[in-house]
Symmetry: C2
Subunit: 84 residues, 2 copies
């Protein structure tokens, strides 16, 4: 079966996010000063061939820990859904 | 009222995503060759002060078009939810 996973990797809440800070202050210059606290991370989509949703989730979790997410600075979460 | 928006900005489907391609081939080296078609974009969270959910969504859409998304190469989508 084929599954699609959507992974979000974000900077840990406790860490400063300089890119997000820069964007937050740019919002003011664009007349969007009601927008605050921008934080920027990565969004990844990927396909997984697996026998079950659990097996697919296990593989995605593995991929996050080994490659996609740097646990020292980032946290991740993901959802898996069947596509075929 | 305060709203939280989650924005995903992804490379257009028609475009090559070299970063995603590199990660896809790295998956094979990690023993995760069942994972394919990785595409990598940005995930952003932000807070909006607005009178209604519609007004908040309008502002986020504005921010995406003016700053967060380069429409030539990227597409965006977002969800808004009330937090307080």
């Amino acid at each position: 079966m084929k599954f699609k996973a959507e992974v979000d990797v974000m900077p840990l809440d406790a860490l400063l996010d300089p890119q997000g800070k820069a964007v937050t202050s740019a919002m003011g210059n664009l007349g969007l000063s009601q927008i605050s606290n921008v934080r920027i991370g990565k969004h990844m989509t990927l396909w997984v061939d697996a026998d079950s949703k659990e097996a697919a989730a296990k593989m995605v979790d593995d991929a996050c820990q080994k490659l996609l997410c740097n646990a020292i600075m980032e946290q991740y979460r993901f959802v898996v859904e069947e596509i075929a």
